[in-house]
Symmetry: C2
Subunit: 190 residues, 2 copies
DNA sequence: TAAATTCCGAACACATTGTTTGATAAAGGG
DNA sequence: CCCTTTATCAAACAATGTGTTCGGAATTTA
């Protein structure tokens, strides 16, 4: 059990916090390493001692944000929504978003960065494709390449997030979850 | 009729071309103004004489790419696909993509840039929301906020493009159009 | 041909990156 | 408690990119 040096813990926490704050304020792209170390009040060389560059720091943040999702309680209520199909990941995620609206608004919005979106989607894809595979084997999905299905579900979900974050008087996580299921599973046709 | 100075035409064409080439090679984000003017063999001050920055040049390129779409022949064949609903924009766009695969692969891919995606989607959104509104008034769509519907269609279409560009042995534009309609209109449920 | 416009290239101040230095401070182990 | 190890810091650095400015040269238009 090698415990991590307290100084290291403190420094990393400060840097994570600074990055998230700055993302909310000006968006990922616009942030410079200079900004981060000033906000965190950390020396320049110390930053590079811990992280290769801005992106590596970001990865640390995202890993941390989503570590929560991994251990979040799966809704075991097998609801009969939309013909038995019910994705597990969506509600947990949507609720997490709801309680961290500021940061997600920034992450999802115009000011974000490709890298941010890339890492976020990559993570979601992992979660989604598992569920897709299960449903596919139970013949509950269309007979299209599972790649397309996964991509489509991820895309739909992401679209929902984006739209949600743009609304002034936001819907609840539960409402969004229903809308997501409705539209992703049976499309837009009346 | 003020005709544009030939030198201006030539310079702008060279810069457009250089940018597109470089996007294919290294992705938008990684490109510097330095790269562009070297590739185009244009003086530094000349670049800034024409464009404020990299993004303004990009906008010029996209406007040009999509000017084609505006005047592209709408498929007037009122096919009875998926219960009478048939988006006009998709096939024209997909065919344009098919004949410019390299650039679209780069634009859509991991190396792209938020600005690129932003401008592309913005343009598509304009086209799509028109069609959505028409269909909505004819009661052919679900009674959800039209904003969600538009966002979803745009998202689905974008997802299709992404997935398409990732495939090694690509489907045809027509196949992709069918898949897009199928999945966007009636979802993934079997 | 003459006037207007555009191009060039060189130089400029400025910001950001990522690295290196050696001194200082703090942590952890015995 | 002392001593070794490790982390931090500030300062300076080269390298790269940005956006501006200048006067002179070249080209276009009329």
């Amino acid at each position: 059990m090698k415990s991590v040096d307290r100084r290291v813990q403190k420094t990393r926490a400060l840097l994570h916090e600074a990055l998230l704050d700055l993302i909310v304020e000006k968006g990922y792209e616009a942030i410079t390493v200079q900004d981060i170390i000033e906000r965190a009040n950390i020396g320049r060389s110390t930053f590079y001692f811990h992280f290769e560059d801005k992106e590596k720091l970001l990865r640390g943040c995202i890993d941390q944000l989503f570590h929560f999702l991994q251990i979040s309680p799966k809704s075991s209520s097998e609801e009969k929504l939309n013909g038995n199909i019910h994705f597990q990941f969506s509600l947990a995620m949507l609720q997490h978003v709801q309680s961290h609206r500021l940061i997600y608004t920034a992450v999802v919005g115009k000011q974000s960065g490709v890298v941010v979106l890339y890492h976020m989607k990559k993570m979601l894809k992992t979660v989604i494709s598992e569920e897709i595979d299960q449903l596919y084997e139970r013949d509950l999905l269309k007979k299209l390449p599972t790649g397309v299905l996964t991509a489509h579900i991820l895309g739909s979900f992401w679209t929902m997030l984006n739209w949600w974050m743009e609304q002034k008087t936001p819907y609840s996580a539960i409402q969004m979850d229903q809308m997501f299921h409705e539209i992703a599973l049976s499309g837009v046709r009346a």
